[in-house]
């Protein structure tokens, strides 16, 4: 039993909303503002949990089940996540990378169902966009993970992460870099960040993810927001696990490197959101196709390196 076994789970649960605060602070500093407190996301969650929820008469149990089951699915995904080579996931088994992908798929499925359940034209549009874009983001995620699995010979996230080291970078550096890039594209799309979506907009007609949760309130909204923060953490951790694998050394080195990496991801998101505009909605699939292409290329390259 590894002493660090529950560290990835607990740190994710505790620190995920903090990253959103970091993103906001970076954006604020680019805009010349002070910005909201770093812990604002925690305050918001606490506030929402204290509130009651409002339900439209046109909604059914699907609408109420969405946030709860969605959060449960994200939590399951988080349990499968290792934090660097020395901190294995709380729960790992051969093939758990599929469970991770499908847990994230389940969250989306439930969000979309709950959105359609409201019968609102806005939410229907958002659902249609979300499904279209994730149909492209999902292959990129799976093929990227497949490339890593092929390189390391492991079929579990913990095995893969433990199998990546400086030697794999020497052997298949370009492929790993491509995987990190593809995961970056998936990360931006799945977390509805600029340039795919604008998490701060108030314009329903341009929203993708945000418009689907317009009708949720109180604890339901808190679950969704917390789930979104965890998703940000999970997808960010996938990139970081690949990115920091060239750093050798004991847990005392790899763990700080992991957390520094997560911070860097948040700062990077803040910078991207500050220096570029959103893509036109119909151009978003092109960017996602690039993600798919990168991951396929990485998969093919891995084949060459390992052959």
């Amino acid at each position: 039993m590894n002493a660090l076994r529950f560290l990835p789970l607990v740190s994710g649960l505790v620190l995920a909303p903090f990253l959103l605060g970091v993103v906001n602070r970076v954006k604020a500093s680019f805009a010349g503002r002070t910005g909201q407190p770093l812990l604002q996301a925690y305050f918001d969650l606490a506030k929402l949990l204290r509130k009651g929820a409002v339900y439209s008469r046109t909604t059914t149990w699907v609408f109420r089940a969405g946030p709860v089951v969605g959060l449960a699915a994200v939590l399951t995904a988080l349990m499968l996540l290792p934090a660097g080579r020395h901190a294995p996931a709380a729960w790992s088994f051969t093939g758990d990378l599929f469970l991770l992908a499908y847990c994230l798929g389940l969250v989306r499925f439930l969000t979309v169902l709950a959105a359609l359940d409201t019968g609102s034209a806005f939410e229907g549009m958002g659902a249609s966009r979300e499904v279209q874009f994730s149909a492209l983001a999902e292959p990129a995620l799976l093929v990227s993970l497949a490339a890593l699995a092929r390189l390391t010979g492991g079929l579990g996230l913990t095995d893969i992460t433990a199998g990546l080291d400086a030697a794999s970078w020497e052997a298949a550096g370009p492929a790993l870099a491509l995987v990190a890039l593809a995961l970056g594209v998936v990360f931006l799309a799945e977390n509805s960040r600029i340039p795919v979506d604008d998490p701060n907009t108030h314009l329903e007609l341009t929203m993708i993810h945000e418009v689907m949760i317009l009708d949720h309130s109180g604890p339901d909204l808190a679950f969704i927001l917390y789930g979104a923060a965890l998703k940000f953490w999970i997808l960010g951790a996938l990139i970081v696990n690949v990115g920091i694998s060239w750093i050798g050394g004991p847990a005392a080195v790899s763990l700080p490197a992991f957390f520094a990496g997560m911070l860097l991801v948040a700062v990077g998101v803040g910078v991207v959101e500050s220096v570029m505009a959103r893509f036109r909605l119909l151009k978003v699939p092109r960017m996602l196709w690039v993600g798919v292409a990168l991951s396929v290329l990485a998969f093919t390259l891995v084949g060459r390196f390992t052959a």
């Binding site: 805009a31 600029i194 108030h202 505009a277």
Partner: protein, 504 residues
């Protein structure tokens, strides 16, 4: 050819009543020859009839041509040939129960109470605001999206109905009237002491524009000559208003595409420019500054020096923030080709102001119908050819640039003397009897037209305001054709029209 120029007071005796047929013929021929329909409105006439006044502007030689006719219940609609007449005709139907026969899309404009007894042209008039039929696209895969009148931001109410197939918008219909306050009705029998305040609040962000148009009309009617210093300061207030709004709009456009730096900085710089207006008169929106006979407050030399310094600084800040827009590919990719309006459409629907200049139409009241300071110190009129969101953004920057230069030039040699004519009339004094007074001003959104008709006692029989938004809302609907519905907020912001300026 008419000799009337902006602003002018035309004795009603000089305007012959044409037959309805001749009236329409004159309008139609004039519009075909490139004249602009400045305004079209009705005044109650004896024997339960309505006298219609139409004003055609000839931008080529700066003249204004008045036409009048008397109608009873209906006339043949000009809208099928000249779409820019369509809203005026619907307005006449709503206010005076005169039916434009053959109007292609006959709906109420603002859901206001009719000013004349007679048969209802719509069932159950006055209908509750927003109750009207919309154009609908048929087909199983088509979906209809309704937005508003309650919006997700702190903006004014308006209803937008999209007919979409997937993300593509085939048709957008805009329904307004929620902000109708009855300004024109309140002015009948006036001017009262509140007339000028109505003007300043007709469209809150166009305070100086409407106040200038009103004061010009009053001065033309009473033959008041402005002192040079007052003329300049009035022009400065109008240009500061233009700069502030354009800078704010560019920031908002950046915000809509998620481009943070320009959004954040422009929001601040707009405030800086509004504060310059506050330095002139104590109010950031210029309330209480433009007054009949000149302006209410003088700017002493120290204040002028301070204004110049702050304006130069604000302009440099604006240049830094706005240049970022033109330098980032992701912003240009979003702006270019989005929401285009062709010059032909723009001409047909009578687009005005920056929206028209963004379609390559060089039209500007300051140049086409110059008066006051604009006759002495002309300003260059830029145009951009592409007619898309980029053009509407770019034209704003060009105008900010020119307005800033113009203000600095004027302040550099500010004439001495009083700022207000000694014989300035009070806003509530009666105007000359039996006169049609016309005044045009280029507000920051475009051409503002005020037309006043006085009766034998010098009181208003009608006071007609035409805000640029009156023409341009239809332009926004046109710009959305075959565009993505997700681009609507961006297109909307690129026009940034006034709801209350339309609803009056």
């Amino acid at each position: 050819m008419s000799e009337w120029r902006n602003p002018c007071a035309i004795p009603l005796a000089a305007i012959a009543d044409l037959s309805v047929w001749d009236f329409q013929d004159c309008l139609s021929v004039g519009l075909m020859k490139g004249a602009q329909l400045l305004t079209l409105f009705g005044v109650p006439a004896p024997e339960d009839t309505v006298r219609l006044f139409a004003l055609l502007g000839h931008p080529g030689n700066g003249t204004i041509e008045p036409f009048a006719t008397v109608v009873k219940n209906s006339f043949l609609s000009l809208s099928p040939i000249h779409p820019q007449v369509q809203l005026f005709e619907r307005e006449l139907a709503e206010k005076w129960r005169i039916k434009p026969q053959g109007h292609p899309w006959f709906k109420p404009v603002r859901f206001e109470r009719p000013s004349r007894d007679g048969a209802d042209l719509w069932e159950a008039q006055p209908a509750a605001c927003g109750t009207a039929d919309f154009f609908r696209l048929g087909g199983e895969e088509v979906h209809e999206v309704a937005v508003g009148p309650v919006h997700a931001g702190i903006i004014e109410p308006g209803h937008f109905r999209f007919q979409c197939h997937g993300e593509t918008v085939y048709h957008l219909e805009i329904l307004l009237g929620y902000q109708h306050r009855g300004i024109e009705r309140a002015l009948v029998g006036g001017p009262g002491p509140r007339a000028l305040h109505y003007m300043e609040t007709a469209a809150g962000d166009t305070t100086c524009g409407h106040a200038t148009a009103f004061c010009q009309a009053l001065e033309a009617a009473r033959g008041v000559e402005l002192p040079p210093r007052g003329r300049v300061l009035r022009g400065v207030a109008l240009e500061l208003e233009r700069m502030a709004n354009h800078i704010g709009d560019l920031g908002a456009l950046a915000g809509d595409v998620g481009f943070l730096p320009t959004q954040a900085f422009c929001g601040r710089i707009r405030g800086d420019v509004l504060n310059l207006t506050a330095r002139l008169c104590g109010n950031r929106f210029g309330r209480g500054f433009v007054r009949p006979g000149g302006v209410a407050f003088d700017a002493e030399p120290a204040r002028v020096r301070e204004l110049v310094r702050l304006l130069e600084q604000a302009f440099e800040d604006a240049r830094g923030a706005i240049d970022l827009l033109w330098e980032s590919g992701s912003v240009l990719a979003r702006f270019e080709g989005t929401g285009p309006v062709s010059p032909v459409t723009a001409t047909q629907i009578g687009l005005v102001g920056p929206a028209a200049r963004a379609c390559g139409l060089a039209q500007d009241v300051r140049r086409d119908y110059p008066c006051g300071i604009w006759a002495e110190a002309p300003i260059e009129v830029p145009t951009v050819a592409t007619g898309d969101v980029f053009a509407r953004a770019r034209i704003r920057w060009e105008e900010i640039h020119r307005s800033s230069e113009w203000i600095l030039d004027r302040l550099a040699d500010l004439p001495d003397g009083p700022v207000r004519a000694p014989d300035a009339p009070a806003p509530a004094d009666p105007w000359p009897a039996d006169t049609l007074t016309v005044s045009l001003a280029e507000g920051w959104r475009g051409r503002i037209c005020h037309g006043a008709v006085t009766g034998p006692d010098g009181r208003f029989l009608a006071y007609k305001l035409v805000d640029p938004s009156f023409f341009n809302w239809f332009g926004l609907a046109q710009a959305l054709r075959d565009q993505e519905i997700s681009d609507f907020p961006l297109c909307n912001k690129s026009f940034n029209l006034s709801y209350c300026g339309f609803d009056l």
